[in-house]
Subunit: 614 residues, 2 copies
């Protein structure tokens, strides 16, 4: 079956959104009352068209012309990037999920997530600017004062400004508790005072360096709203001493007029292996490049309470991490579709059974090993898509489920699944991209085809927004051990329900359900052991194995869900779902016992190792 788009399969999206997740039923809820199937489809249409016509065509160009620092010290970017971002701003997609009171469209988050994947597949480096900005504005609408929302969130929601998250410092990446950027109360400022802004939050002066800031500097917008983590004087050491500040690149008067430059200076850009459409900067705050209000230090405005900075930031982390996973799936998905097209049109070799050299060569999609590589990709990217959309649907449940119990249950499950939704696609979407290259062979290794770029772009996703290893510790330490396995038990209950449904469907779904039940039982046995172990360190030391095992279990479950939905339905689309599920249950789920055994036996090899022997 020819693929209409090489970004994301629309048919697959509709299967997952409507046949599986019943997203159209969300319109029964007050927040989504303006939406129906037609309007939701319209959002997907806009995103698909924008991605196809404006994003994908410049994706290679952005890779070849990475951001540079010009002679005047500003960031030089291809004009095509700005044009694509203008087209995005004009599409109205940027404000889609925000509240109506902020000019938003109150779109279900799950539709936003689905439409976003077209844009990530089209050019993950372009869409990162608005996505980071939306996360920034979203944080402010949740935690900012009305004045801060008015002054700093609304221009971002409107798409006139961009925003960043400035967390890491050169010496503190994963260990944010060790940041040293200092924010000192600005005696000269006060409400509406000398720093030129009235935000309701107190004014501070910041000094320090911030590293790895995506969208950290550019001339794409007239202002950039940085959300900056910093310590305050006399704050306790570690995570509890960290507060959050709005630090605009250009100061803003109470009426919204742009004023003088704040002391936020570009020190340099990082030169990345991929993901080059997005600038990534080292920034200096308050180092004296500018002296706003005639005083030293970058002007910043406290968000929320002093000392609550990390908690506020992590409150937004679920969505940011799902967004990373979503990007990883999208890159994997478009790579899969490109390699599928190639496999269907590239003649080479003959079948295993008929090697007659006088017969015409077959298309390489006929070769079992090529089919293996395509099925593997399909199982990873469609499984990853299901994972992303399931989590996005949970975001809507957290916000709008009818009862507080349902909202709490959704929040708990989302918390448990977030490290998986981030890390599993980063690992297996990348594996899919490696297979896409392999299907194309030498051609895939050249820059004449896009798959090598997808592979380079995707390699970032196991690193940013918390590394793979950090996700494992989050899963085991915070999401399983800390709550005594309650969230996992709830997930297991859902899995059991699917197993029961699959059993009713009979045939392969029933067999796959039985296999899932066996692995689930093993996981529960291991978790029970971890919960009763006096010493948690072996569990934490082997957290990556636990993360990967549980990730495969969850995706196997989501494949079983898809099989149940597809049961009894005929046609190549549903047969494709069955084939990919068969692949996952036949070749992927069997990898779980070896991973789980590392956790179960509490392997101490890495804990006890003398590092001198390395």
């Amino acid at each position: 079956m020819p693929t209409a788009s090489r970004l994301i399969s629309r048919r697959d999206l509709e299967f997952l959104l409507y046949e599986w997740l019943h997203v159209e039923s969300l319109s029964e809820r007050e927040r989504f009352r303006e939406h129906d199937r037609e309007s939701l489809d319209g959002v997907l249409d806009i995103a698909e068209e924008l991605a196809t016509e404006q994003f994908a065509p410049i994706n290679r160009l952005l890779d070849e012309h990475e951001p540079t620092v010009g002679a005047d010290g500003t960031v030089v970017l291809p004009s095509e990037l700005k044009a694509a971002l203008e087209a995005y701003a004009a599409s109205g997609l940027g404000a889609a999920t925000f509240d109506e009171q902020y000019g938003g469209g109150q779109l279900p988050y799950v539709i936003h997530a689905a439409s976003s994947m077209y844009l990530q597949a089209g050019s993950v480096g372009v869409i990162a600017y608005p996505f980071l900005s939306q996360a920034n504005a979203n944080l402010l609408t949740q935690h900012g004062t009305p004045e801060q929302i008015e002054q700093f969130a609304l221009p971002v929601i409107e798409g006139r400004w961009f925003g960043t998250m400035a967390l890491s410092e050169p010496h503190a990446g994963s260990s944010l508790g060790d940041i040293t950027t200092m924010a000192t109360p600005d005696a000269a400022a006060g409400a509406g005072g000398g720093s030129g802004s009235s935000t309701g939050g107190g004014a501070y002066r910041l000094k320090g360096s911030k590293m790895w800031i995506s969208g950290g500097d550019h001339e794409l917008r007239e202002n950039i709203v940085h959300l900056v983590l910093a310590r305050t004087p006399d704050a306790p050491a570690g995570p509890k001493g960290i507060s959050l500040f709005i630090v605009p690149k250009v100061l803003v008067s109470p009426g919204g007029t742009l004023g003088e430059r704040n002391d936020v200076a570009l020190v340099g850009l990082n030169h990345k292996m991929g993901f080059r459409g997005t600038t990534n900067a080292l920034l200096a705050f308050g180092e004296g490049s500018f002296t706003p209000g005639g005083q030293p230090g970058a002007v910043g405005y406290l968000v929320g309470q002093v000392g609550a900075g990390l908690a506020i930031m992590f409150d937004m982390m679920n969505e940011a991490r799902i967004g990373v996973g979503s990007g990883a799936v999208s890159l994997g998905y478009t790579g899969y579709l490109h390699s599928l097209d190639y496999a269907r049109t590239r003649p080479q070799g003959r079948s295993l059974v008929s090697r007659d050299p006088t017969s015409p060569p077959v298309m390489i999609v006929e070769h079992p090993d090529v089919r293996r590589m395509l099925l593997a990709q399909k199982s990873y990217v469609e499984g990853g898509l299901a994972l992303t959309l399931f989590c996005a649907r949970l975001v809507d449940e957290v916000r709008t489920a009818p009862s507080s119990e349902e909202r709490a249950a959704a929040d708990q499950l989302l918390g448990l699944l977030t490290p998986i939704a981030k890390s599993w696609p980063a690992q297996w979407g990348l594996t899919a991209n490696a297979l896409a290259i392999q299907v194309l062979g030498g051609a895939g290794y050249t820059r004449d085809f896009p798959v090598e770029q997808f592979y380079r772009d995707n390699r970032l996703n196991a690193i940013h927004e918390g590394t793979h290893g950090i996700q494992g510790i989050d899963l085991v330490g915070r999401k399983i051990l800390r709550d005594g396995g309650v969230a996992l038990a709830a997930l297991a209950g859902r899995m059991c329900a699917t197993v029961v449904a699959a059993s009713g469907a009979g045939g392969e779904p029933a067999a796959h359900g039985a296999a899932l039940a066996t692995q689930l039982e093993a996981v529960q046995r291991v978790v029970t052991k971890l919960l009763t172990d006096a010493d948690p360190t072996p569990a934490l030391a082997n957290a990556t194995a636990a993360l990967e095992a549980l990730g495969h279990l969850v995706v196997a479950w989501l494949w079983l869900e898809q099989e149940v939905v597809a049961a009894g339905k005929t046609g190549v689309f549903y047969d494709g779902k069955r084939a990919a599920a068969a692949y996952f249950f036949g070749q992927e789920l069997p990898k779980v016992p070896a991973m789980l055994d590392i956790v179960e036996r509490g392997d101490r090899l890495t804990l006890d190792l003398d590092p001198d022997v390395l």
Copy 2:
């Protein structure tokens, strides 16, 4: 323990070469009588110094300045590349393994392989030119006439010219039987005739296109000797209709003087994701860019018999494929050492048990998950190094073992191991490079550190010289099914001997030996089933799973070999061997059953798949 070099550990090389493979004993053989431990070490010294001082320092530069086609149609390369190649030519390493009669040093191949790995780790793109040239000249010394050797091999052995292997065509990559380049006997030529050369082989005129030719064109040397596969008029279809020809870029008079340009024209260069130091070209033969001797067609000289081209080429393939595996190990190895250095010097975070934020941060090598990533790399790259050197040692056995029985046994084992020696390092060396990036985090994703380049360079190795899938079919079809499992049985016998030795050592080696024996038994059970199956297609369809399972089994065996050698020896080096072996047996060998099960059950999913469902 600080690492002296970040290319390959000299201590590890010496352990494998002398403590394990007893390479110095080769000097007892007539061919190697001029060599002793001191001279062998001298070769390693030269290679390490050359790689450290001339290759590694320009590796990034070659990545940033890939080959281009200049205004005059010639290939433009950085001058630093030429300088590094001159230094290599001056080192004498190029002729080291050749016979004394050809000006060679009759160096044991295993030492050549070991020394080569320094150069591959230093810059895989630089060393590819001489390595391809040596393979070219080696083929001619085996299959060429005395005149062809004199005229075309000796200048290459001396390092004055380079050589290529021109096999693929734009429409025929993996399926060489489908090439269409045509070689027509040159009526005007004959011995010493109009084409300006007397080689003993008949003169032909060639016409056709050749794709993916590494070192295919450049101005680094005054001549390039292409070894070209082509069909002859009336040749049968398929592999048996293919012959091999010498096609020099510049014609050569019988006295060795360079004459007019042959009709070999550069059509274009491929733009690769990595491995950019090596030109990779599309060449046109006999398309009329030049008219040597006033006649159309590229002048070529037949090597060996008409129709024997593929057989001759595959005769050289063992070494070429081991060379690819060697490069993959080398890139993995240097990435490991770079990430190890980083992990030892980068402070970040605190230990799992002491999270006091007022305590100083620890070096990241203290974190169990970082240790996991380092141990995994160590187990892959040191295991891969053992695999490469074991196979290289077999090359020496094939050439010089005292009895014909021993030579035949070595040849049989080498044939079986070659697809593994090529594919296992390509897969796991790349995995090591991905982990090296991960250890460095965001820094690893930037071009400020070399690990991202190693990752890009290494991605080629699963593609060239026979893709990963081709290696699987070679292993299962040609190396196991065709000989009725005889070679595998011989390998199993060697493994059993190691298990017995490990059992005698007691402790962990004994336990690991028992685990290996269990997996070996499973492999033998599966192979017995395959040999008795009436239909070989499921085995071939699942050949990649078999390749990967057997690869892990072989490397586990080589780790057990190392443990046996290390048994009873003390110190951090041997403790490191034990730790990496424990990692491989604890976390890698347990992956085998799931892979093997795919083969054993004769999974028909990919065979029976309707490709329309993809």
